[in-house]
């Protein structure tokens, strides 16, 4: 889903920065993550969002840097990063009741499937 990607890709989450991060901090963090990803360090591989843990990719990091360079776009991302920890930690969504009975292969006995 797009909505999920949009939020999970919030630059502040990707770069692990606070809303107050300065322009220099953005560049520094981006550069650091890119370097760590290039070296394949496990520490850089994932990040957490309110929607759960995500994989960090160089593409995401570069896009995040570009998003935060532009004040217009940065402003758009700021209201969404107040919540840093995964929402499931705050209040796990109750597991939805399963659809009920599992299926039963009726195609075979009625000869509708391959011999």
């Amino acid at each position: 889903m797009n909505a999920v990607e949009r939020w999970a890709g919030n630059p502040f989450f990707v770069l692990e920065l606070a809303v107050t991060a300065s322009r220099a901090e953005v560049e520094r963090a981006g550069q650091k993550w890119l370097a760590m990803l290039e070296l394949g360090l496990a520490r850089a591989a994932i990040y957490t969002t309110p929607l759960g843990v995500r994989a960090r990719t160089p593409e995401l990091v570069r896009t995040a840097m570009a998003e935060l360079r532009d004040p217009e776009r940065r402003a758009g991302h700021e209201p969404w990063c107040l919540l840093q920890e995964p929402a499931s930690v705050i209040d796990p969504p109750e597991s939805t009741a399963s659809e009920g009975e599992p299926g039963f292969d009726a195609m075979g006995p009625l000869q509708w499937s391959r011999r």
């Binding site: 300065s22 322009r23 550069q31 650091k32 760590m36 070296l39 520490r43 896009t63 570009a66």
Partner: protein, 820 residues
């Protein structure tokens, strides 16, 4: 690798090209064999097939135009090869550009001793994908393994920012080249450079100044010698070329002198008049007069850009001039005076772009020396750090990849060579990796020694032993100059990459097909048009490629409503690739058709010119009726532009491809402008229609409608009010259609309706598709009318409607897109 790195930047210009190198601290412009920093972008192939480029070739431009080519940059992205008569060879624009690049590459080797394998090449900011792709292709042909493209204004800004003292604020890069004008608004904030926006005119440049001088000269000649030299007369071509050459020389000379003589190498030969040698003296005042309209055009673009970004000209921190024509003091003075902003001086407008490109090569770590021999000593480190960086305290990240012969390092710290800084001591983690923050001295190459220690504290040798980071202005990844997206069947654009997206980039969206593609059918094909531009209506954007899913390539019929997962990818060199996965077929399609600038087909252009003229006329008539003064202004401008297009079209008919391209582009722009006019009128019109419809349908329903219909109508009337409040065009249109339909239903119940409708239809039967049948129906209808048999009359009238021609249905505009 040892020694200083070699970062190469190339300005591949329309008229002149230049190459510069950057060693990590300073840039140096490479001179060619003639000792000039500029190499004219001219290629000549003689009868023996020998290729010459640069000023040696340029000399033949007038004398031997059939074997000498220039200005091919404007044709980049088209596939038309250019012939060289004497040798019988044909070269495409990228091949020609590759010749220039090869020469520049050779110059670097001659001066610096090694043949570069990687470079940054600058391209105009408004280049579209096909043109960028052609440039990257040229670089590949010239032998570069790795290239990156950088928009010219960013290159100029980098070069200007590199030398200038820090001063935050917005600046304007005013780049007037041989044939194109680019203006960019940039912003520096704490040393970080950001592109705020660009604008430009792809068809304004020094050449236009030359032609203005030529026109002045021919007017003078006509007055003094009574000879009329016409630019569009093929018989006068040689004389015109001579004049133009002289004009350009005079113009250049006027940059220094107060007066210049147009000197012709040989007397002008005009059929019917014999040879004569005109005496023409061009003064600064005249030049200023000729220059003024062109400069004003460029200033118009500057103002538009500044207004778009809510910047007052007075707020500008400085203006950077780039390009040959900006050498002219008159021009500089005029621009600076009109905009009222300080000019950055001490910068060479001719080579600034190449210098900036070279600096960018460092940021992208495109070292032109290629891989050098490895000298191994001690533990091998794999390091990641920015070669150039603005941030004063960046990170050095590293990992021990090979222990070497001795013990494994345990702790690491970095010491700056000037002794002014020692980093924290960091213990290597489980992955043998470390992240160390270092501090840089501003505007210097900072070298750090890596000190590695084992558990006991003994210092170990590591490879590489040092890292060097240059502090200075950088721009991150090259940004995309125009948005790219997919045209949808609704004529909307699904944007994949917005303007400014850092490259490389990659994005996926899921589309849904709107029509079926029949298996094994030759004429059934699903098109996914990829467009570039900032308009929200697809047909106004430029088509840069089409991904096709043809009937003959699919395993089974692809029904309408199927999902298509489309991924578009752009690399740093501006190459685009697209990939469509069709889960229903379990097939992948990757072939993107014609990633080319469409050839400017003169017939098509003439046709669309005629349509646009008609549209302007219609709109004007309408605007007069309503007294919309501001629309009239826009229309006047459009008309003026159309006249210019007509002129270009004439030149294109005479074989001038460049003019054809200009005409094509301008037509698109005028189309967009007229669209805007139409849209601005749309809402008032729609509101009027709403009032009319409500009154009419309300009346019909009140008299002839059923109770149910009255209730329905009330609902609709409420919905129409809602749509009007929200100014929702589409919703209002839909609701009005519904109201109309309801009104008609009631109206048809009126016994007087059908005789009237029948009369209207029978008055049009001359246009019927089947005249005898229509005539028979009219006879029947008259009889039914006589009997007052309205049910029958209605049946007959409806039949009659079917025989009358339809209104031409809305043409599908969105490049035939088959997806939503």
């Amino acid at each position: 690798m040892t020694g200083r790195p070699l970062y190469v930047g190339i300005d591949l210009g329309t008229t002149n090209s230049a190459v510069a190198v950057f060693d990590g601290e300073s840039t140096q412009v490479v001179r060619n064999a003639q000792g000039s920093p500029l190499t004219p972008s001219v290629v000549r192939i003689d009868a023996k097939g020998r290729v010459t480029v640069g000023s040696a070739a340029r000399r033949f431009l007038d004398r031997d135009p059939e074997n000498t080519r220039s200005e091919f940059k404007r044709l980049m992205g088209t596939e038309r090869p250019l012939p060289f008569r004497a040798s019988g060879r044909e070269l495409t624009p990228p091949e020609l550009a590759a010749e220039i690049l090869k020469a520049l590459r050779g110059d670097v080797r001659d001066q610096l001793g090694s043949l570069p394998t990687a470079a940054v090449i600058s391209v105009p900011a408004l280049f579209e994908l096909p043109q960028s792709a052609a440039t990257a292709e040229a670089a590949r042909l010239a032998g570069f393994d790795k290239v990156e493209l950088l928009p010219e204004p960013i290159a100029s800004a980098l070069a200007a920012g590199w030398t200038a003292e820090h001063g935050d604020g917005r600046w304007l890069v005013y780049d007037l080249g041989g044939g194109t004008f680019d203006v960019s608004l940039l912003e520096t904030d704490g040393g970080f450079l950001r592109v705020v926006g660009h604008d430009g005119d792809n068809f304004l440049g020094g050449r236009d100044v030359d032609w203005a001088i030529v026109d002045w000269a021919t007017a003078m000649i006509e007055r003094e010698h009574g000879v009329k030299i016409r630019r569009d007369n093929p018989e006068h071509a040689a004389a015109t070329a001579q004049l133009k050459h002289a004009a350009e020389e005079a113009k250049v000379a006027l940059s220094r002198a107060n007066e210049a003589v147009l000197t012709m190498p040989a007397p002008l030969e005009i059929a019917g008049h014999g040879a004569f040698d005109p005496e023409l003296v061009l003064g600064r005042a005249t030049l200023e007069e000729l220059l003024a309209p062109l400069v004003d055009r460029s200033l118009e673009v500057c103002r538009r850009l500044l207004a778009d970004h809510h910047t007052d000209p007075g707020q500008l921190a400085r203006i950077v001039f780039v390009g040959g024509p900006t050498v002219t003091p008159l021009l500089r003075a005029r621009v600076a005076q009109v905009l009222g902003a300080p000019v950055a001086d001490g910068l060479d407008p001719m080579t600034l772009v190449a210098q900036g490109a070279a600096i960018h090569a460092a940021t992208s770590a495109l070292d032109g020396r290629g891989a050098g021999p490895l000298v191994r000593r001690g533990a091998r480190l794999w390091l990641q750090f920015p070669a150039v960086c603005t941030d004063l305290s960046p990170h050095v990240v590293g990992r021990v990849v090979e222990g070497g012969s001795g013990p494994m390092p345990e702790r690491i710290h970095l010491v700056r060579d000037d002794g002014g800084f020692t980093s924290e001591v960091t213990t290597l983690d489980a992955e043998h990796a470390f992240v160390v923050a270092v501090e840089l001295v501003s505007r210097h190459a900072n070298t750090f020694t890596i000190v590695a220690q084992d558990a006991a504290g003994a210092v170990l040798a590591v490879d590489p032993p040092t890292v060097t980071i240059v502090q200075g202005m950088t721009i991150g990844d090259p940004p995309l100059s125009r948005s790219i997206g997919v045209a949808l069947a609704s004529d909307q654009v699904q944007v994949y990459f917005e303007r400014g997206t850092p490259l490389p980039a990659r994005r996926s969206f899921t589309h849904v097909t709107v029509e079926s593609v029949a298996r094994a059918s030759a004429d059934s094909v699903l098109k996914i048009p990829i467009v570039q531009g900032e308009h929200d209506r697809a047909h106004l954007c430029r088509l840069v490629g089409t991904l096709e899913i043809p009937g003959h390539a699919i395993a089974r019929t692809l029904p309408a409503g199927s999902d298509i997962e489309l991924t578009i990818e752009l690399d740093r060199g501006g190459r685009m690739s697209a990939r469509a996965l069709v889960p229903a077929l379990d097939q992948v399609f990757e072939h993107v058709a014609h990633l080319l600038v469409p050839a400017a087909d003169t017939e098509v252009l003439a046709a669309s010119l005629a349509t646009l003229r008609k549209r302007v006329d219609d709109l004007r008539a309408d605007a007069f009726r309503r007294g919309m003064a501001q629309v009239l202004g826009t229309l006047e401008h459009a008309e003026h532009e159309l006249a210019e297009v007509a002129r270009d079209l004439g030149a294109a008919l005479g074989g001038n491809d460049d003019a054809g391209q200009r005409a094509r582009r301008n037509l698109l722009e005028i189309d967009a402008a007229l669209d805007e006019v139409e849209q601005s009128k749309q809402w008032p019109e729609l509101e009027q229609r709403a009032v009319r419809t409500l009154t009419w349908a309300g009346g019909q329903i009140a008299y002839l409608g059923t109770d149910r219909e009255r209730a329905l109508f009330e609902d609709i009337a409420r919905a129409i009010d809602g749509a009007r409040q929200e100014r929702n065009v589409r919703d209002l249109q839909r609701q009005l259609r519904l109201a109309n339909q309801l009104g008609e239903t009631a109206w048809y119940r009126d016994p007087d309706t059908w005789p009237a409708l029948f009369d209207a239809a029978s008055s049009r039967i001359d246009a019927a598709t089947d005249l005898p049948k229509a005539q028979a129906l009219v006879r029947e209808g008259r009889a039914a009318n006589g009997r007052n048999d309205y049910a029958e009359l209605r049946r007959i009238t409806e039949k009659l409607w079917k025989l009358l021609p339809h209104d031409p249905s809305a043409q599908r505009q969105s490049y035939d897109s088959g997806v939503r």
